[in-house]
């Protein structure tokens, strides 16, 4: 690729990656957080004990977690078409990215919520707090540093997945690296995209760590 074409191509690819990661991360947060809360609340001895619901949710999450992303992406192509009307492009990639990340994040949410002292939850109940209040005002705020750390890990994973999604036409840095760096032996493009990905991941991780640390008062 000529130097003149390189910059616009990189910018466009970076933009596509950012778009895929941003939207799928947002959707993952919106879906994974309640799912994680449900996984904890439906425990026997939890806020809303429901072992059957818990078993079903846990099963679904485990299936989602055990599928390699590349398999998941291909397997749900019909669903992707149903939702977005297409199976290729940046928008279409958001569907498998989200579906892959939700179970992952839900488990991290579950772990973070389980880290909240049981005594603190009981103390709130002893003060007459409703279950909704316990979740909103006790569980989530107490687990916030863990929730942020989990989201950081999820975003990093999404950056990785998004490169794979690029391979089926999602665009982005991964796509650029494969089309130019690998298929056309353009080492410069390869090195630049790799460096860019590494830098972005580092930035995301550092930012996430910083925020989590700021939020923690333990």
């Amino acid at each position: 690729m000529s130097a003149d074409d390189l910059l616009p191509a990189l910018l466009q690819a970076t933009g596509e990656t950012a778009q895929m990661v941003f939207w799928s991360a947002l959707l993952t947060l919106l879906l994974g957080l309640p799912l994680g809360v449900l996984l904890v609340a439906t425990d026997r001895g939890g806020l809303v004990p429901a072992p059957a619901v818990k078993a079903v949710l846990g099963g679904v999450v485990n299936v989602g977690r055990s599928l390699p992303f590349i398999v998941l992406m291909v397997a749900i192509l019909p669903f992707t078409r149903l939702v977005t009307g297409t199976t290729i492009g940046t928008v279409a990639a958001i569907v498998p990215l989200t579906l892959g990340a939700v179970p992952f994040y839900a488990r991290l949410v579950e772990t973070a919520l389980r880290g909240v002292e049981r005594a603190v939850v009981e103390a709130a109940q002893a003060m007459g707090a409703s279950r909704v209040r316990v979740v909103a005002r006790v569980l989530l705020p107490e687990a916030l540093p863990g929730l942020v750390a989990g989201l950081t890990v999820t975003v990093v994973a999404l950056i990785g997945y998004s490169a794979m999604a690029g391979a089926i036409g999602g665009g982005g840095l991964g796509d650029l690296a494969i089309r130019y760096g690998y298929q056309r032996f353009d080492t410069t493009v390869m090195i630049i995209t790799v460096v860019l990905l590494v830098v972005v991941v580092q930035l995301v991780q550092s930012l996430g760590d910083l925020v989590a640390r700021r939020l923690s008062h333990r």
Partner: protein
């Protein structure tokens, strides 16, 4: 609150025939009856596993009893639906062994929590929080986080939080068990002060006798899910052979033959022993004893042996002063019938 509550002498907390069997099959409470009178500090004493925490958690229904009833301030909690129970809980404060503070909130935020639950407007909340922090001696710490506080300070936050919504009763689950002795004393003193100044009724559980001695008006001793003994501390100390007396003033059991065990509370003024020796020409031997401060009254239990001279008269003299509580077996060579001299001085044969 039901009208009957305003009658005097009705207990603020009434627990009747409470049983709790956990799913594991453990019988944690096996028919517990408990009456806590308004304005008193009631201590439940027992070893680990006796069922104390289960009992306390049944009082605000954190734990559903298997059977039996719990009535607090005239309201039978066991018959309430969830919404009504939540409202009732707002008037029952609770403090915890490990404080159970929200680590994500400041001291002020923690104390404000029950006020938020009760729907108190923000401005009033701030006023009340400042007031409470003053009461527990934590002004200046409002914007600290729990992690920055010592154990004693954390428990003060816990107490301020428990008092925020003007509760009638305070439940305390081993509130001082995680604290060092000095801090324990200051927290107990605070509870005592709140009890005196606010008329706050306190039900506390503990495995430590010194807590009972320091602050409790009444006590129930729990063993294996049952109340083995209950009553006013002062009355139990004056009851021959009560569990409480034996536990507060431990002496080797069984008492040796010929010994007499004397229990007294605040009557140490008269030189009883020297009177005995002079008037009745007996030998007095001190076998053992212990002295304790019980609720601010110096009290003790002394085991002595009286030999020779006018032994029977000497014993009568002790009885007249209400001092003889328990007898060892009579000495073999000096066996003579003991005259009964009324209920107050009933002698108990140690077995």
């Amino acid at each position: 609150m039901s009208p009957s509550y305003f009658g005097y002498n009705l207990p603020v907390i009434h627990v009747s025939r409470l049983r709790k069997v956990y799913e594991t099959g453990v019988v944690a409470l096996d028919g517990v009856d408990l009456d806590v009178r308004e304005g008193e500090i009631f201590g439940v004493l027992g070893q680990s596993g006796a069922g104390k925490s289960t009992l306390l958690r049944c009082v605000n229904l954190l734990e559903r009893p298997t059977s039996g009833t719990v009535t607090v301030a005239g309201q039978e909690l066991t018959s309430l639906d969830l919404a009504a129970l939540r409202r009732a809980r707002q008037r029952i404060g609770m403090i915890h062994q490990h404080f159970a503070l929200l680590s994500s909130r400041t001291v002020a935020g923690n104390v404000a929590f029950p006020l938020e639950v009760a729907g108190v407007p923000r401005r009033e909340r701030a006023t009340r929080v400042a007031e409470l922090l003053d009461v527990v001696g934590l002004d200046g710490k409002a914007s600290s986080y729990p992690a920055q506080l010592s154990g004693g300070q954390k428990q003060r936050v816990g107490i301020a939080r428990a008092l925020a919504a003007h509760p009638k009763v305070l439940l305390s689950d081993e509130a001082t068990s995680a604290l060092d002795p000095g801090t324990t004393q200051s927290i107990l003193a605070l509870l005592k002060r709140l009890n005196a100044e606010l008329g706050l009724t306190i039900l506390l559980i503990t495995h430590e006798m010194h807590v009972i001695k320091a602050v409790c008006d009444s006590v129930a001793i729990m063993r294996e899910g049952k109340v083995a003994e209950a009553g006013r501390v002062a009355d139990l100390i004056a009851t021959p052979g009560s569990l409480l007396t034996r536990e507060i003033f431990p002496l080797p059991e069984p008492a040796p033959p010929g010994s007499v065990t004397v229990t007294f509370a605040g009557q140490a003024g008269e030189p009883v022993m020297s009177s005995l020796v002079r008037r009745f020409d007996v030998d007095v031997d001190i076998l053992g004893g212990s002295l304790e401060d019980v609720g601010g009254v110096p009290s003790g239990r002394l085991r002595i042996r009286i030999d020779g001279g006018k032994r029977a008269e000497a014993l009568d003299y002790l009885r007249e002063r209400g001092l003889v509580r328990e007898h060892g077996p009579e000495p073999v060579d000096a066996r003579q019938p003991e005259p009964e001299t009324g209920a107050e001085t009933v002698a108990e044969e140690a077995r």
